[in-house]
């Protein structure tokens, strides 16, 4: 995995590109397989959305070591980085219901902002009360030993940027 990323930074050979594409396709197969499994279980009466069932099973398999990280890492990064491309059509679809959204704008605004504040503060305070009010030293040094150093020293620039963008899509 590591080797493939470094090669990507220095213009990969065609063989390396093919291997990367192969890895990504294989990972896609794994993700689609879990999605399909989740949809089947939903159909058979599990009262959760199919994609969430798939996510739970997939995470369990990662922890159990049934699915190895190398198989899915690259595909997952691509899917998460570009997730907004996949739900942009749903938002554009709201064009069809814009009148109703307009009529109820006040209720929507109060609900959105009010509920956002509640979730943010309740989660923040609960976590701070349970974990401690300042960042615990052992966590940041023990569990993430590299986080104190600027990551630009650890990785070449391109890799670092890409890692950051990968993690949060939507």
């Amino acid at each position: 995995m590591e080797r493939a990323i470094v090669q990507l930074d220095q213009r990969p050979s065609w063989a390396a590109r093919l291997r990367i594409a192969g890895e990504a396709l294989g990972g896609m197969g794994v993700l689609l397989g879990f999605y399909f499994l989740g949809m089947m279980l939903q159909y058979w009466g599990v009262p959760l959305p199919g994609n969430v069932i798939g996510l739970i099973l997939f995470t369990a398999c990662l922890f159990l070591g049934v699915v190895r990280m190398e198989w899915v890492e690259r595909t997952a990064q691509i899917m998460l980085r570009h997730m907004l491309l996949f739900f942009a059509p749903v938002i554009v679809g709201a064009l069809a219901v814009r009148e109703q959204l307009g009529v109820e704008w006040f209720s929507i605004a109060v609900g959105l902002v009010g509920s956002f504040l509640v979730v943010l503060l309740v989660t923040g305070w609960t976590a701070a009360t349970l974990i401690g009010h300042t960042t615990p030293e052992e966590t940041s040094s023990d569990a993430a030993p590299l986080s104190h150093r600027p990551s630009s020293q650890l990785f070449p620039r391109g890799r670092d940027d890409r890692e950051k963008r990968n993690r949060g899509a939507s």
């Binding site: 993700l31 689609l32 999605y35 989740g38 009262p47 959305p49 994609n51 969430v52 996510l55 997939f58 995470t59 990280m69 899915v72 998460l80 907004l84 491309l85 996949f86 739900f87 942009a88 059509p89 749903v90 938002i91 554009v92 679809g93 709201a94 064009l95 069809a96 219901v97 109820e104 209720s107 929507i108 109060v110 609900g111 959105l112 009010g114 509920s115 956002f116 509640v118 979730v119 943010l120 503060l121 309740v122 923040g124 976590a127 701070a128 974990i131 401690g132 009010h133 300042t134 960042t135 615990p136 966590t139 569990a143 993430a144 990551s151 950051k164 993690r167 949060g168 899509a169 939507s170």
Partner: protein
């Protein structure tokens, strides 16, 4: 535009192509104007295009639905950050799960309460309920509850944007200084858009936020089961 009508906007290629073009353009715009979220640019340009060329939403949907199909595997992919961050922040897992659970319950209850208090319609209320979790999960929960996916997608994205812009400052005001707590609060309330915001400044906040985004999605879908039974 006559030619395009003959080929047919209803061809899925139109919806897929125009959305991908708008997305690539939005990424290019963001390279120049950093604060402009590509999601805003993508959707705004598509909406302007559809309105200006008088293309019916139904035709666009043919292609849009194909892209939407990819949300399934994208949700499964959330397992990767979940696994990775949970191993990184392993010391506080029970506390983290509890905090996210408390936050999610308050999110479900408060969104319903606020919409009910301001006399919102039933469909807006049901669509608002799952709005704190990541979009592919929130629209599925909304569908199960009997809400409207399009409403929920809009609400979810708006809370993400509000969270990304105001979340960190509000937490500072509320004197939450623990990086894990900040990350959890942002991830639970503003999902991926918030996560992308905090990951720029602080590694630990980003990890906690990514973990919270995936866990809140799972926990909220489970919490929605009783509501679903009660409504039925």
């Amino acid at each position: 535009m006559k030619g395009l009508e003959l080929i047919g906007y209803a061809n899925p290629v139109f919806g897929v192509g125009v959305t991908m073009a708008a997305y690539v353009a939005a990424l290019a715009v963001q390279r120049r104007v950093r604060w402009l979220h590509p999601l805003v640019v993508t959707c705004a340009s598509l909406i302007v295009l559809l309105l200006a060329a008088k293309i019916p939403c139904e035709s666009y949907r043919q292609g849009g639905d194909m892209l939407k199909l990819m949300l399934g595997p994208a949700t499964i992919a959330l397992g990767v950050p979940l696994y990775r961050q949970a191993r990184k922040i392993k010391t506080h897992i029970p506390a983290i799960v509890l905090a996210i659970m408390v936050g999610s319950i308050c999110g479900l209850a408060s969104s319903a309460l606020f919409v009910w208090l301001t006399h919102g319609s039933r469909i807006v209320l049901l669509s608002m309920v799952p709005k704190s979790v990541t979009t592919p999960i929130s629209i599925e929960i909304s569908k199960q509850l009997g809400g409207d996916q399009k409403f929920t997608a809009v609400f979810t994205v708006l809370s993400g944007l509000v969270g990304a812009v105001f979340g960190p400052a509000l937490l500072r005001l509320a004197r939450v200084r623990n990086d894990i707590a900040i990350g959890l609060a942002i991830g639970t309330s503003a999902h991926g858009i918030g996560t992308a915001r905090v990951i720029r400044d602080n590694e630990l906040q980003g990890s906690a936020s990514g973990l919270a985004m995936a866990l809140a999605g799972i926990i909220t879908s489970i919490l929605a089961i009783p509501i679903y039974w009660w409504l039925r």
